[in-house]
Symmetry: C2
Subunit: 122 residues, 2 copies
């Protein structure tokens, strides 16, 4: 018996806004989607060619209030082959929420406030 | 410029308990760790041979209260090559918190309450 990490799920309030954000900020595009027969939910898997791991974005029709992320002590990390260009892009998008120049990393937030870490590729 | 998803971070209250849980429940073992010079934090990366994606477990010495996970509308998903055996193991461990037999999936919780999805490999 073995286990393989295949995706991280984040529930999102505005699916189009999230899809636009993840494509523009991190190059993730839609791979497939599941739409409920009764229209109550849509699940979209986004990814790129760099790994088989996917981000699952779940939208719930009947959810009206913003998602409460609690202490926000969790995050999804991305490595990039061009840290300077990534930093410039995220500055322009005004989504940088924390920087640690000593460690050479920074964090951005997606439209729902989920923290995403950006680190240079080794 | 490209981006690759490399890890998901969960902050944990009891590092040993979490390491034991992830090894027993999901076959993830320690790959490397970072210990702060002043002892204020320990970060452990756990994974297995099935993918390069890692789970980052962060322990903070000065954190005393349990982590507030908010609405808990996020989770990390694992596929397994032996769904029946996985289900039996997680039943024995009493960590199953939700089942959807129609979809053929279930969810377990780690010691801090983080939701983890288990799905059969395709």
């Amino acid at each position: 018996m073995n286990f393989k990490m295949i995706h991280e799920n984040y529930n999102v309030s505005n699916l189009k806004k999230s899809l636009d954000f993840y494509e523009k900020a991190l190059g993730l595009t839609e791979k497939r989607r599941i739409t409920a027969d009764d229209g109550s939910f849509i699940i979209v898997y986004v990814a790129n060619e760099k790994s088989t791991f996917e981000l699952e974005l779940t939208w719930l029709r009947d959810r009206t209030e913003p998602y409460n992320l609690g202490d926000e002590e969790f995050h999804l990390a991305f490595e990039t082959d061009d840290y300077e260009a990534a930093h410039r892009l995220h500055e322009e998008m005004r989504c940088i929420c924390f920087e640690n120049p000593k460690m050479g990393i920074y964090f951005i937030k997606d439209p729902d406030g989920y923290w995403l870490e950006v680190v240079p590729a080794k």
